[in-house]
């Protein structure tokens, strides 16, 4: 079969991509400020904000946010537009998954789909100025986790990524939830595609309440799971001849037409597709959902439980109809976020923040992804519906892999990525090599032990050790 991709002539795009990073970066010029020396004064909360709201500062960014003011910076982050730097746009445009509907790419091997999807995600996280959007994309991608190696998920997920996750990452939760429920990738991943009247399939119904909306102790019962499953019978994915394969479809023949009761609310018979829509409304407006989403945000952004913040955010959720920016604004500017305990970096956080810190020129390609695999976080490959864990204890085994990545990156042995440490160091006024690299990687910290650990070493070793340091594993 002649593939649509080859017809369009993009067949070689992936293969030639890695050579293009230099060109891509050329489009944006040298973005390093002339002087990277940090402004005096209150720097830590700004570093923290860039670490928490995004993937860590790039050289010069701390001073930039200091000039704009943290509030103003965050406000603009809460309302991103589609304007991305030319270099990023260029790199993304070379990926088939950016140009063609995933279901049309089925002649491409699954591994290549995953590679391109990961590449796009990594490039955006590194180079997009809309850092908060990228962080929230990571957050919701895990909240509505889809394992890309189940069935055709690798071909369905690009659509989900674009139209469910990215489109709604900073809008409202009810919208996001609705989009996810209608997403063919989700319908397939949690088996609702095969859910039909008779003995209904409970998979989606359960995870919808447990993981997406109410939380496991959110007040639903096994009976509710079975009733919700009945409501969603017939929600499936088009696969008919000459039809738009892979699109959402409601099949009335497979739907259970009887009356249902969900969380005490009667759903009358003969509701058709509306049964499911009704359930989504009930769940999105349930107080347990407000609390559950609040809890999850607090855990992610403060690193642990904080009942005061959970109540505060749950209240905002209820008052604003689940408006995501309204919840994030006070949380990210809070003293707890900016001056409280550090949160550990997951491997993606670590890798992206390292590449940003050293202002690396990278294609986000196979080499970077192989290192993420070694650290235990290949993107889109967490098999369970709950998303990658966020507790520190789950990730302490990844240190060796982090060290190996840092050593390769700083010594320019990572194919597809380059760093220019001399150039970076030249923009910092005072201090020896170690001071300069610490200033770049861990701005504002006094880390005498790094100097001590790498006595007499080269610039690249100082950079590597700064990335290896325990301090850089936290954000």
């Amino acid at each position: 079969m002649l593939s649509r991709r080859r017809l369009i002539g993009l067949g070689l795009a992936g293969a030639t991509l890695s050579g293009c990073t230099r060109i891509a970066r050329g489009l944006d010029g040298d973005r390093l400020p002339a002087d990277l020396t940090l402004p005096a004064g209150d720097v830590h909360p700004t570093v923290r904000l860039l670490d928490r709201a995004g993937f860590g500062p790039r050289p010069g960014e701390v001073a930039e946010v200091e000039r704009t003011g943290r509030e103003a910076w965050l406000e603009s982050q809460l309302h991103p537009d589609d304007n991305e730097p030319s270099g990023l746009k260029f790199q993304l445009s070379r990926l088939d998954v950016s140009n063609i509907d995933g279901m049309e790419l089925r002649d491409m091997p699954e591994n290549e789909m995953l590679r391109q999807m990961s590449q796009a995600a990594i490039l955006r996280a590194i180079y997009s100025p809309w850092q908060l959007r990228e962080r929230m994309v990571d957050f919701w991608t895990n909240h509505f986790n889809i394992y890309a190696r189940k069935g055709l998920a690798a071909y369905r997920k690009p659509n989900d990524d674009l139209h469910v996750i990215r489109a709604n990452a900073l809008l409202t939760f009810p919208n996001l939830l609705r989009a996810s429920a209608h997403s063919p990738a989700m319908l397939a991943f949690l088996d609702n595609r095969q859910n039909m009247r008779g003995v209904a399939n409970e998979n989606y119904a359960r995870e919808l309440m447990e993981l997406h909306t109410l939380g496991v102790h959110g007040g639903y019962t096994q009976y509710d799971v079975q009733e919700v499953a009945r409501c969603f019978t017939g929600w499936t994915v088009e696969d008919g001849f000459l039809q738009h394969r892979g699109a959402f479809k409601f099949d009335p023949e497979r739907h259970d037409r009887g009356e249902k009761t969900v969380l005490g609310v009667k759903i009358p018979a003969e509701g058709g597709q509306n049964d499911g829509e009704h359930v989504l409304e009930i769940l999105a407006h349930h107080p347990a959902c407000a609390r559950f989403i609040a809890q999850k945000m607090v855990r992610h952004f403060l690193g642990g439980a904080n009942e005061a913040w959970v109540s505060k955010l749950a209240k905002i959720y209820t008052e604003t109809g689940g408006d995501i920016p309204s919840m994030l604004r006070p949380l990210l500017l809070s003293q707890e976020a900016l001056e409280g305990d550090p949160v550990s970096k997951r491997p993606l956080d670590f890798v992206v923040s390292a590449l940003r810190a050293l202002d690396a020129d990278t294609d986000g390609g196979r080499q970077i992804q192989d290192h993420l695999v070694a650290m235990g976080q290949p993107l889109f490959e967490w098999p369970m519906p709950d998303g990658y864990p966020d507790k520190t204890s789950a990730w302490t085994g990844s240190l060796l892999a982090r060290w190996n990545f840092a050593l390769k990156l700083a010594s320019n042995q990572l194919e597809g990525s380059t760093v220019d440490l001399k150039h970076l160091a030249s923009r910092i006024g005072q201090g020896g090599d170690a001071d300069k690299m610490v200033a770049v990687v861990l701005p504002g910290r006094d880390l005498a032990h790094i100097q001590e650990a790498a006595k007499g070493a080269e610039l690249s070793q100082f950079a590597a050790l700064s990335l290896c340091a325990p301090e850089f594993q936290w954000r």
């Binding site: 993981l211 790094i450 594993q473 936290w474």
Partner: protein, 426 residues
């Protein structure tokens, strides 16, 4: 930013005192570090009990398709499409029948490689076993089992294996006392101060031509910190030192054993290496996902059978590789968070249920038997939406393994407030 001020997660993982008892924590750390500097003392093969190899089947393995209660008519009625036929059912194709174990239960033929172990008495099955979890949530149920609890109550954050390690003296001073062959640490080892998650021993090395110098710099970088990452960094460096002296890559399985290329197979191969290398291994954790068979689960072929094919081949290779002598010192425990609904659903799969089975492999088990207080499968014998009742608490099995095989003497620390009823499996 002061790393000594800690958030909840941060604090939990760094406070050894939570597990070790107040006061002794820093001493314990220093002792271990000091000892590891002089290298691993070869363990005394006769000291202490078995090495525990804990294998978790994630996703809720359908116990009734693994070890089939073929003697129940209700089983065959509820599973017209995905049920396995009786061993002597001549109306069914030979490859659609289960393999008889005891006249009532039969083994899925995908697990045929385990049949010799059963016949030799080295494989025991426990059936209708599970926890008190009623949520039927994977995460809640796994979390409960890995923390060693019966009900989701209390504030026990650490894992049962972590508490086992914390409440028994190490048999040897070893950075490889507890190992999870995985990229992330399982909850059963959560809070363990001497456990490490390693995806591959073969690839566990500093990837630099100045390996020794880099390790020295890292040791200096990591020497002071009290945060979870600093502690993990020191442990990582300890393990690097040890593995540097061994050569996991060159390990060849014995007795003609061939491990499957799956993660579980390669993981077990590495565990076998550690067992043979005598480096003080006491606990190894592995897992295998993919058991959440809501759709097209199949019977003797299909999704579930593919899973079982691999599981059977992996376990059989491990037992063959170590041979009956070494297997006398190893207890393999296979468990899953819950079983699945008796009634098959309209997408030819099964939904989350209650009780499942456990497999126990090792020279110390009284195998060749299915241990079960079988609750029955008729409607009045099922629980809630139609699930197999839990008649054996999974902790009864784990506790018996710990006391009789591992010679653990502080069971109250591992399963607080629980009085186990031994089944006599070992």
């Amino acid at each position: 930013m002061a790393l000594d001020h800690s958030c909840e997660d941060y604090r939990r993982t760094t406070r050894r005192s939570l597990l070790m008892g107040a006061g002794i924590s820093s001493v314990a750390w220093m002792t271990r570090s000091a000892l590891s500097q002089v290298g691993v003392r070869p363990g005394n093969a006769d000291a202490g009990g078995d090495i525990v190899v804990s294998i978790f089947l994630r996703g809720g393995a359908d116990g009734m398709s693994v070890v089939v209660p073929y003697g129940e008519d209700a089983y065959h009625r509820a599973r017209p499409n995905i049920g396995l036929a009786r061993p002597n059912d001549n109306s069914a194709a030979a490859n659609a029948r289960c393999l008889d174990l005891d006249g009532f239960f039969g083994l899925n033929p995908a697990l045929a490689p385990l049949l010799p172990l059963y016949k030799d008495g080295h494989l025991a099955v426990v059936h209708a076993v599970g926890s008190g979890d009623q949520t039927r949530s994977h995460f809640e149920a796994m979390n409960l089992m890995e923390r060693g609890l019966g009900q989701p109550v209390g504030d026990v954050a650490s894992g049962w294996l972590a508490r086992h390690l914390a409440s028994s003296p190490p048999r040897a001073a070893s950075p490889l006392r507890a190992v999870s062959i995985s990229s992330t640490m399982p909850d059963s080892l959560r809070g363990a101060t001497d456990a490490l998650a390693i995806e591959s021993l073969d690839r566990f090395r500093i990837d630099s031509d100045q390996d020794a110098a880099v390790r020295q710099s890292l040791a200096s970088l990591y020497k002071h910190g009290k945060d979870a990452m600093s502690i993990a960094g020191r442990e990582t460096l300890d393990v690097l030192d040890t593995l540097n002296r061994l050569d996991p890559k060159s390990y060849k399985a014995a007795n003609g054993a061939t491990y499957p290329v799956s993660d579980l197979g390669q993981g077990l191969r590495q565990v076998a290496f550690l067992v043979r290398a005598n480096v003080g291994l006491e606990v190894a954790c592995l897992d295998r996902g993919g058991w959440d068979t809501h759709v097209v689960q199949g019977a003797t072929t299909g999704l579930l059978a593919l899973q079982l094919d691999d599981l059977g081949a992996c376990l059989a290779a491990f037992a063959a590789d170590l041979g009956s002598d070494l297997m006398k010192r190893v207890s393999v425990v296979v468990q899953t968070e819950f079983g699945r609904r008796l009634q098959e659903n309209t997408s030819l799969g099964t939904d989350h249920g209650r009780a499942s089975m456990m497999l126990l492999i090792g020279g110390g088990f009284k195998g060749g038997k299915v241990y079960s207080q079988w609750p029955g499968l008729e409607e009045h014998q099922l629980e809630d939406p139609g699930d197999l009742k839990v008649t054996t608490d999974y902790r009864d099995v784990l506790a018996e393994v710990l006391t009789k095989r591992v010679q653990h003497a502080n069971l109250g620390q591992v399963f607080p407030g629980y009085v186990p009823n031994p089944l006599g499996v070992c």
